[in-house]
């Protein structure tokens, strides 16, 4: 047993290796926590709206525990759907996997070790849904200590079964459906799948935006669906048991159901290990990344002589395009960001009224709004903020090749700028064809955005140069829990937020041309500063990184 624990310790260290945080990162975390407070408060308020709205209605029929059942069901389904990509990555595609396969340990031991990291994420998701629900329910229902204690116990046990179901599903797919002949392609699919999930959930939430309205409709709906709900819970057998464990008439009923939950969870864990022992190794072996191409035959039409900066930019673009996590984070996400904005606009008002607004509004304000939106989209693109970090162990190649560091940085900036155009193009379609913005405004917006994109890129590179993460073992770590992208977005929000607000409110800046001129001037100055500090930092730090 002791070697199992050693193995777990090493695996966790590997996974969280970046967690040896220095002071800079600690301030980053603090900052992040502070930024999350209003979001958390809003979420509690939102859940409270639903719970306190539904509770009295259900209480009439003495069905209020359905709230907990429903929350648990949603949690379970969310876990099953969202943890699949994490499980696939952790179980099958982690770069350190090969080194564990050679250790003299059993398949299930590696499996459990590989489970720990995604399981932590699962508990996070569970907490987001269950903590406010249980709290608000408890407050509304006037629950006592039995409720609190069994809520806590159940919280710990509940997520395990949905997680195991997802894992078993993944293992079956990997073993028999053989979707994973090619590691890279599967990774891309898993990534796109999780994005689609996020958007789907977003749509559902937005469809039911008004908590007041929603709660009464919903309560009626739930009352009608009483049977259906319990029926559904058969898919996730522990929903019923867990609900009973939290909310029963007598405390000994709680205890009995909790013990039952405990036993069932144990059975599932045993099942998981048994299946893992049988399926896991066969699934892992034989996964390879990279595609074998056709046999090379003719050299002369494969030779291209290019200027150094362009050759380097191409190298960057190819690496991004061919590395699954880079592709997902830098390009796919880039496509989804404008979609998000569309969804928000669509459900906030309907599209028709926005088009109407575009018609009536002063062109100055339309341009400003468009400019603000595109800044947000570009600012949330992590290509520039990962310019240095993406290199990882390979960073040293930049130091022995005879290329001027400035050229390298410019090439990286150019690559990020080109990728920015993917989202600019999507926004262009959105503005031109869906919102029917006048042509002149579009043209000016393109010019402004192209320039502001350079600012965003140099700012991102500046931030990454100051605190790159080069010692990753899995490409995903380049993007996970780093503060560089958030920091860049905030710098951008502050500097341009000020510019946009000022232009918006100053009465003497009127008309399209004067607005454009003001924005051009502001962006120009910002770009000059960003470029300057990025280049200064390059000079100072380039040779000392890595």
């Amino acid at each position: 047993m002791s070697n199992t624990f050693t193995l777990f310790k090493i695996m966790m260290k590997q996974y969280f290796s970046w967690a040896d945080k220095d002071d800079k990162q600690k301030t980053g975390i603090l900052f992040f926590i502070i930024a999350m407070i209003p979001v958390t408060l809003f979420w509690f308020w939102f859940v409270n709206g639903i719970v306190s709205g539904i509770h009295p209605i259900l209480a009439e029929a003495n069905l209020q525990h359905l709230i907990i059942a429903f929350a648990l069901l949603i949690t379970g389904l969310t876990i099953i759907l969202t943890s699949i990509p994490t499980i696939v990555t952790s179980f099958y595609f982690a770069n350190d996997l090969e080194s564990y396969l050679t250790l003299p340990v059993k398949a299930y031991q590696i499996l459990i070790g590989k489970t720990l990291a995604p399981l932590i994420t699962v508990y996070g998701a569970t907490a987001v849904i269950m903590v406010p629900t249980l709290l608000m329910y408890g407050l509304t229902d006037g629950a006592g200590s039995v409720y609190i204690i069994f809520s806590l116990f159940t919280f710990v046990l509940f997520p395990i079964i949905p997680f195991i179901l997802a894992s078993i599903l993944v293992m079956f797919l990997m073993r028999f459906a053989n979707i994973a002949k090619n590691k890279d392609r599967t990774k891309v699919f898993a990534g796109i799948f999780s994005f689609a999930m996020v958007i789907g959930i977003n749509v559902v939430i937005r469809l039911n935006q008004n908590p007041e309205n929603m709660s009464s409709d919903f309560a009626q709906w739930i009352q009608k669906q009483d049977d259906l709900l319990w029926g559904t819970s058969k898919f996730l057998p522990n929903v019923y048991i867990a609900t009973k464990a939290i909310e029963s008439t007598y405390w000994w009923q709680n205890a009995l159901f909790f013990i039952l939950l405990f036993v069932v969870t144990g059975l599932f864990i045993a099942l998981f290990m048994w299946i893992g022992q049988r399926l896991y190794f066969q699934g892992v072996q034989g996964i390879s990344s990279g595609n074998k191409g056709k046999t090379f035959t003719s050299l002369s039409n494969k030779l291209y002589v290019r200027p150094v900066y362009w050759s380097y930019t191409l190298k960057e673009l190819r690496t991004i395009y061919r590395t699954p996590s880079f592709f997902i984070n830098c390009i796919v996400q880039n496509l989804f960001a404008p979609f998000f904005i569309l969804i928000i606009m669509f459900f906030e008002n309907n599209l028709g009224s926005i088009t109407e607004m575009v018609d009536q509004f002063n062109e100055k304000y339309i341009l400003l709004a468009m400019f603000g939106i595109s800044l947000f989209v570009m600012g949330s693109n992590p290509t520039a903020t990962s310019s240095i970090s993406r290199e990882g162990y390979n960073w040293f190649t930049n130091k022995y090749l005879p290329i001027d560091p400035k050229t390298i940085i410019y090439s990286k900036a150019l690559a990020a700028w080109i990728i920015d155009w993917v989202s600019i193009a999507v926004l262009f379609i959105l503005f031109t064809f869906l919102l029917k913005v006048p042509f002149l405004v579009i043209a000016l917006w393109v010019v402004l955005t192209a320039l502001a994109s350079w600012f965003s890129v140099f700012m991102g590179i500046y931030v990454d140069l100051n605190n790159p993460r080069l010692n990753w073992s899995d490409e995903q770590q380049v993007f996970k829990s780093r503060f560089a992208p958030l920091l860049t977005l905030l710098i951008q929000a502050f500097s341009f937020g000020f510019l946009i607000l000022a232009t918006w409110n100053l009465p003497f800046i009127s008309g399209l041309w004067l607005t454009t001129l003001t924005l051009l001037l502001g962006t120009g100055i910002a770009l000059y500063i960003a470029h300057k500090i990025a280049m200064k930092t390059t000079q100072k730090r380039f040779h000392y990184l890595g």
Binding site: N291, T295, L299, K302, L303, V308, K315, H543
Partner: protein, 241 residues
């Protein structure tokens, strides 16, 4: 020619990985760099190539100081690192084009060299595959091809022969001889003493960051007054503490 003067380097700790090293690698000679694991060979090579900043001292390559004139110095050498796992997402041919662009190799030269080198090394057919799909030895070969593509005066190779099959190893050794015959420089680190005995014109042995010996094979035998093999001398030199 590489000149290393009073070079010292320590990683974060206080222990010096390389301690006041003085070494001249002359033109026209194959120079072997020996030492036990952790002796400081790779550290020295990384300072020569500009990968690691130098704490104290200076290094020049063909007269160019590596910190003052980095670009000129870097154009003068070609480097094969100890781990050849780089540019994995590029295809072989893309990597060679990239190197060709950086060192400004004309198209005709590229065509001729890539064809002959990769055919000699047996990696011509896989040039269209990502380097990720190459074996260790194939990765090494594509990097060696990249170095030879731009014909640098100075070759700096960190354990270039580990992982190569006998034929390719022989080819590379022949190429090293050919290169020094033209009056150019070859500096390489290795653990294989037989290779040193049959190939090197001059040898330096480093241990714990300190230079223990520098000279040719006859110097060595004279200094240690022995007819023993290089192996015995090496063990004696590096074991005595």
């Amino acid at each position: 020619m590489i000149e290393i003067q009073n070079v010292t380097k320590s990683y974060s700790g206080s222990k010096k990985a390389v301690d006041t090293l003085n070494l001249t690698i002359p033109d026209g000679k194959i120079f072997g760099f020996l030492g036990p694991n952790g002796a400081g060979k790779s550290t020295t090579i990384k300072m020569i190539t500009g990968i690691l900043p130098i704490d104290e001292g200076t290094i020049t390559i063909n007269g160019y100081d590596v910190t003052q004139n980095p670009i000129e110095a870097k154009k003068a050498f070609g480097y094969v690192p100890d781990h050849p796992d780089m540019f994995l997402r590029l295809k072989g041919i893309e990597y060679l084009n990239f190197i060709g662009d950086i060192y400004e190799v004309p198209k005709e030269v590229r065509e001729e060299k890539i064809e002959s080198l990769t055919k000699t090394f047996g990696i011509y057919e896989v040039l269209n595959d990502p380097i990720q799909t190459y074996s260790h030895g194939m990765r090494q070969k594509i990097i060696v091809t990249g170095v030879l593509l731009h014909e640098p005066d100075v070759w700096i190779l960190d354990e270039p022969l580990t992982g190569l099959d006998p034929k390719s190893s022989y080819t590379l050794k022949e190429m090293m001889r050919e290169h020094t015959r033209k009056g150019k420089t070859v500096f390489f680190s290795t653990h294989v003493l037989e290779v040193v005995e049959q190939l090197c014109d001059q040898v330096a042995i480093i241990n714990n960051g300190v230079l223990e010996f520098n000279g040719d094979m006859s110097d060595m035998k004279a200094q240690f007054q022995t007819d023993g093999s290089l192996e015995q001398i090496f063990l004696e030199l590096t074991n005595h503490e």
